[in-house]
């Protein structure tokens, strides 16, 4: 159905409504009716010849022709529009092949339809009345409301003090930029030192960051968490202290561009249109621009802000040209960013558990994410600490007695019985068969503590 730029539907509607009145007053063959039919038939016939179908819709008392708002005033057609609306005919569709008499029959039908109480579709009733090229429709609003989970906009549980302080300071940094002022590099450096010196050293803080987070914060909390997760990955990648400082700073500021995107768009649970998508994707460019203008920020910070949504395979945004591979620093932050986003709540989904999030990272490895970095990250997340009780795919129950640094998902376990009282054999779950398949997989962690003295003794001897 093509748009009709020059067709004014006002005269047609006015004529049609008048015809409807006339059909109640005069017999079918009366010259007044014939004249009116002819008056409205000719212009519409021209449009049908060119466009095949003409659909006139009334929305908010505004006329639309073939889906495009009509440029005429509408004031002169107000009465006709009102009358049709009252009849429940907000939409008139006319198709090629229309005969003049069909217009009369349609108008006549409309004047009698109001008292019809049958459930038969109008189209069938029109067809029965000999009208096959005109149909009427009622326009009703599409209710696009949806029930979305409601999340707090920050952590509600008591926070590890240094982590709490870091969040407060990060919020101030984001507020500063959002209010149009420039970033203070000294504040940033202090915050980076707090993150490296205190937050990252606190197991409690790390636990709060690694776990699923039942709050939705896409700006400062997310940035602090990504900074700590990047630091964790950076350590796993054996970066020296200077590079770690640069990494944490870059990760902390990677989403600073979101301060230039309206929060309602950042948090919008529903579908984004092209303009909104462009705006949200623009946060990478905005961020880099903000950081370019900030004196004292490390030169790689804008790189990370610009590239952290780019995949190693060239996918993602912004479009930086073919063959542009993100800097390694950006690749590290990308892994942390995706993990944090997945384990955080969003208005359109529940937060993921850490193990689920790691699976998503694993799936993206090699395409969007650097495989080695994903493996290093998953290694850094200790799913099976020494002493934890686990079940294997062979339905064996065991206790982790040693982790494998190169294969942390396959620790050395001591097999026990279901009541954790017996110590049977010790097995290395990283062992594989001749085809490279693991002989055992850990499929479940079991809540609880080893209760037998034999198992506890194993832990104390470290064997």
């Amino acid at each position: 159905m093509s748009a009709i730029p020059d067709f004014d539907p006002g005269p047609f509607l006015r004529g049609f409504v008048a015809l409807r009145r006339l059909t109640g007053m005069y017999p079918a063959g009366h010259p007044v009716i014939a004249q009116k039919v002819d008056e409205i038939f000719q212009p519409v016939q021209q449009q049908l010849a060119a466009h095949g179908t003409v659909t006139i819709d009334i929305i908010h008392e505004q006329l639309h022709v073939n889906g495009v708002v009509c440029l005429s005033d509408g004031a002169s057609s107000a009465q006709a529009v009102r009358e049709l609306s009252e009849l429940g005919a907000h939409s008139v569709e006319i198709r090629a092949g229309l005969q003049p008499d069909e217009l009369r029959r349609a108008a006549e039908f409309l004047s009698t339809a109001a008292d019809g109480s049958t459930d038969e579709p109008i189209a069938d009733r029109l067809a029965a009345a000999g009208v096959s090229h005109v149909s009427f429709g009622r326009i009703v609003a599409l209710d696009t409301r949806w029930r979305a989970p409601q999340w707090d906009d920050g952590p509600s549980q008591p926070l590890e003090p240094s982590y709490g302080e870091a969040l407060t300071r990060a919020e101030q940094v984001f507020d500063t930029v959002a209010s149009g002022r420039s970033l203070d590099a000294v504040n940033i450096r202090q915050l980076v030192q707090l993150l490296i010196g205190e937050v990252a050293r606190s197991s409690a803080a790390l636990a709060q960051i690694l776990t699923l987070k039942e709050y939705e914060n896409l700006t400062y909390c997310h940035s602090v968490n990504v900074a700590i997760l990047s630091l964790m990955l950076g350590r796993q990648l054996r970066l020296d202290d200077d590079l770690i400082t640069v990494l944490v700073e870059a990760a902390l500021l990677h989403d600073i561009g979101k301060t230039r995107v309206p929060l309602e768009i950042v948090q919008k649970p529903g579908a984004l249109d092209r303009t909104e998508r462009k705006l949200i994707e623009g946060h990478t460019t905005f961020g880099a621009e903000i950081l370019v203008d900030t004196v004292g920020v490390h030169p790689l910070a804008p790189t990370v802000a610009l590239e952290h949504h780019r995949g190693i395979n060239g996918t993602g945004y912004p479009d930086l040209g073919d063959g542009v591979v993100p800097h390694l620093m950006s690749q590290i932050v990308s892994v942390a960013d995706i993990y944090e986003a997945l384990t955080g709540a969003r208005s359109y989904r529940e937060p993921m558990k850490p193990e689920q999030a790691c699976l998503v990272l694993a799936r993206e490895a090699g395409s969007k994410l650097n495989t080695a970095f994903v493996k290093a990250f998953v290694s850094a997340v200790t799913f099976f600490p020494v002493g934890s009780l686990v079940r294997t795919n062979r339905d064996e129950v065991g206790m982790v007695v040693r982790t494998n640094s190169r294969d942390p998902l396959h620790p050395v376990i001591t097999i026990t019985n279901d009541t954790f009282e017996e110590v049977r054999q010790q097995v290395d779950t990283s062992e594989r068969d001749g085809d490279g398949r693991y002989l055992r997989q850990i499929v479940q962690s079991i809540a609880g503590q080893p209760r037998s003295s034999a198992l506890t003794a194993l832990l104390s001897t470290g064997s």
Partner: protein, 718 residues
């Protein structure tokens, strides 16, 4: 910038001031409307357009308020509720155009620049068709931030062709939704006021919810198309069924999960059929990017796989084997998530086995009956029982093997080796491309010039070349669409090459070997933007052989600019420039030919040589004209040049000269020399001009002429 406090509210202004400002606002809109008219009629660079923008800019500066908001109506603009411009140029050129461009409101900042106004006029005056992006977006794309345009309400009317009886289902669904637990907040999954549904007038429904729409529209691809329309903006092309499904599959599945279980099952089955009917590449993309990840993550769209026939399901699941970290157990995990019946799961075994074999390729072709392989593939699809939290990990091999260890070990060093100046230049260049706003570009380019200097100082030639080339490429790309940005980049490169830097470049060039190769790369990277430095270099040291050599070696790059500046050069520089033009080949003959008449003999001689080097037909014609005009004085110099042309061009030249009897008579020695060397150019093809010369052989009293006649006769003999 004016402080924000300068924005006066209407009530805070004295009445007289308000009246004055209203007049100024109207005056501004009048001038803007005049400018739009000029842009509609004349090119944007015409003096009329420039003057109109200037006038408009002046009028804007006189307005008191910081920003000037107005609402667009078909015949006028509404400024602070007051109608402006009905029946005037404002109606014709602004209100109507803005209305037709589907603009609802306009907000002009008092600090809008001439460029902003000019771009606004250009875009508003441009003819709009169905594929043109909305005005606001076009202005944004051109970096116009001080003129904001908001788009008018544009509803999407969805045709569901549902009979009245269907309304009962929709109402039923609505009631069912209303009775659902009310946890969470109400939000809009799609824009609130954009979607409208055309239903049968007999339908008793009050409205249609999104899940109601999923009830009414049976075809998932059509539903996806409708959902796509709800997030479209004017100018967006309607999406095909496949594209819409690819983009909206997640939402379609989400809507289906909200339906009654029986209806949802039927819809998912339909969705599966629709996905299978997609074109293979598109289906594969949809499965790999959306459906399979959803299956592993437990999202609803993964469920559609359950309704795939076994063969298609096996094909789909085998796409998992493309995942780099996939362990063979990934297929097991996927099958677990699908919760297939035991019988169906058993049936999947051989199918998956076949696909795994296929992927193992020729290497395993000989081992088709290998028992170990069979055992392994059987294991791939074994049933894992129990609700295991970590079973998913079995699907991926995340062990840190030697290759991973090697990457990890090298990461710190690789990051440490980053050339920071190069990294900064990289993103500065990228930012200019992403946001080609002249003001932003100029700011970024200042920093870029400093960093280029650092690279040059450090001798990071590869990085310097790459960054200069990237900037030059951006300048080339933006030459048409963003001339201001293109010029800013060219100027930045030109300014970067100060006389001192250009001198260093020349030194490298002179050194030969690797250094010359580097210099050549740098020159190529800078392209025409280096012309300024070259011209300066020529003016400062035109006779320097290094610069002459450089200019000639890269003549094609510099020739256009040199041709433009030729008349500004003193003799030595002019000679050098002409030599470069000659080296550039065809295309500059006219400019070179003009130099033939230069009073300096050196210039004229160089021009002749240059034309000889160009050796095109046009060059030959120029030389001929020159010789005919100048006669004997020029003939000697031109003689050698003539023989440098191609045979055809030389013949043309000879024909032109020999046809002129007067020329022959007055320049017999020269003519004779031409004839003596003419036998190489198929003289029979010159018979039309040689034949008349034959009669000269009887002029015994003038020996040179007689010899001309004699030679002509000889040449004409077969």
């Amino acid at each position: 910038m004016r402080p924000a406090a300068a924005t006066l509210s209407k009530s805070a202004q004295p009445a007289a001031a308000r009246r004055d400002d209203a007049a100024r606002v109207e005056e501004f809109f009048q001038s803007l409307a005049r400018a739009v008219r000029q842009f509609h009629t004349y090119p944007a660079t015409s003096p009329r357009c420039i003057d109109a923008v200037e006038e408009s800019h002046r009028a804007l500066a006189l307005i008191e308020v910081e920003t000037l908001p107005c609402v667009v109506s078909p015949h006028e603009l509404l400024v602070s509720g007051a109608a402006v411009g009905r029946g005037t140029l404002i109606e014709q050129e602004l209100a109507r155009r803005l209305y037709e461009a589907r603009c609802q409101a306009l907000e002009i900042n008092r600090l809008a620049t001439r460029r902003d106004l000019a771009r606004f006029c250009t875009e508003l005056a441009a003819r709009r068709d169905g594929t043109t992006a909305p005005l606001g977006e076009r202005l944004q794309n051109h970096g116009v931030e001080r003129i904001q345009v908001s788009a008018a309400f544009e509803p999407q009317i969805l045709q569901v062709s549902a009979p009245a009886a269907m309304s009962a289902s929709v109402e039923h669904d609505r009631q069912r939704q209303d009775m659902q637990p009310t946890a969470g907040r109400i939000t809009h999954l799609y824009p609130a006021d954009k979607g409208w549904v055309r239903v049968d007038p007999g339908a008793a429904t009050r409205g249609v919810t999104l899940s109601g729409l999923a009830v009414l529209v049976e075809d998932p691809a059509s539903l996806a198309q409708m959902l796509s329309r709800l997030v479209s903006v004017p100018g967006d092309e309607p999406l095909s069924r496949g594209d819409a499904l690819e983009q909206r599959c997640e939402d379609v599945a989400r809507l289906y999960t909200s339906l009654e279980p029986a209806v949802a099952r039927a819809r998912f089955a339909k969705l599966a059929t629709t996905v299978l009917s997609l074109e293979p590449t598109q289906r594969r993309r949809l499965l790999s990017d959306t459906v399979l990840p959803a299956l592993v993550d437990g999202r609803p769209e993964g469920e559609l796989l359950r309704d795939f026939p076994d063969v298609d399901l096996a094909d789909a699941l085998s796409l998992f084997l493309d995942v780099e970290t996939a362990a063979p157990e990934l297929l097991t995990t996927a099958l677990d998530r699908l919760q297939l019946s035991p019988a169906r799961r058993d049936a999947m075994g051989p199918l998956l086995e076949a696909r795994i074999r296929e992927r193992q390729g020729a290497a395993t072709a000989d081992n088709r009956n290998d028992a170990a392989l069979r055992e392994r593939t059987q294991q791939l699809i074994r049933v894992v029982t129990g609700d295991a939290a970590f079973d998913g990990f079995a699907a991926f091999d995340l062990c840190i093997d030697d290759a991973t260890e090697s990457v990890i070990a090298g990461t710190s060093e690789a990051i440490g080796a980053t050339n920071l100046a190069d990294a900064r230049l990289t993103y500065l260049s990228q930012l200019i491309v992403l946001n080609p706003n002249p003001e932003v570009a100029e700011r970024l380019l200042r920093e870029a010039a400093r960093l280029l200097g650092e690279l040059e100082k450090a001798g990071s030639w590869t990085a310097l070349t790459a960054r200069l080339a990237a900037l030059q490429q951006t300048a080339t790309v933006f030459r048409e669409s963003r001339p201001e940005v293109s010029t800013a980049i060219a100027t930045a490169i030109e300014t970067f090459y100060t006389p001192a830097r250009f001198g260093r470049l020349l030194t490298m060039y002179e050194a030969g070997g690797a250094e010359r190769a580097t210099a050549n790369l740098l020159i190529t990277a800078c392209g025409p933007s280096l012309t300024g430095a070259v011209v300066r270099g020529l003016q400062d040291a035109g006779s320097d052989k290094r610069i002459l050599q450089l200019v000639c070696d890269h003549a094609l790059t510099f020739a256009p600019a040199l041709a433009r500046s030729l008349d500004e050069f003193a003799v030595p520089q002019r000679v050098a420039a002409i030599r470069a033009l000659g080296a550039a080949g065809s295309g500059f003959e006219t400019q070179i030919a003009k130099q033939l008449t230069h009073p300096s003999e050196a210039v004229a001689r160089e021009a002749l040589r240059a034309l000889g080097r160009v050796a095109s037909d046009e060059a030959a014609e120029s030389v001929t004209r020159y010789v005919l005009r100048q006669g004997a004085s020029a003939a000697a110099a031109a003689e050698e040049v003539i023989w440098q042309f191609s045979p055809a061009a030389t013949r043309t030249c000879l024909r032109s000269l020999l046809r002129q009897r007067q020329f022959v008579m007055t320049n017999p020695e020269f003519t004779l020399r031409l004839l003596q060397r003419s036998d190489r150019f198929e003289p029979t093809k010159l018979s039309d001009v040689l034949t008349p010369l034959k009669s000269l052989r009887y002029r015994f009293w003038n020996r040179p002429l007689a010899r001309i006649g004699q030679r002509a006769s000889e040449l004409l003999q077969p």
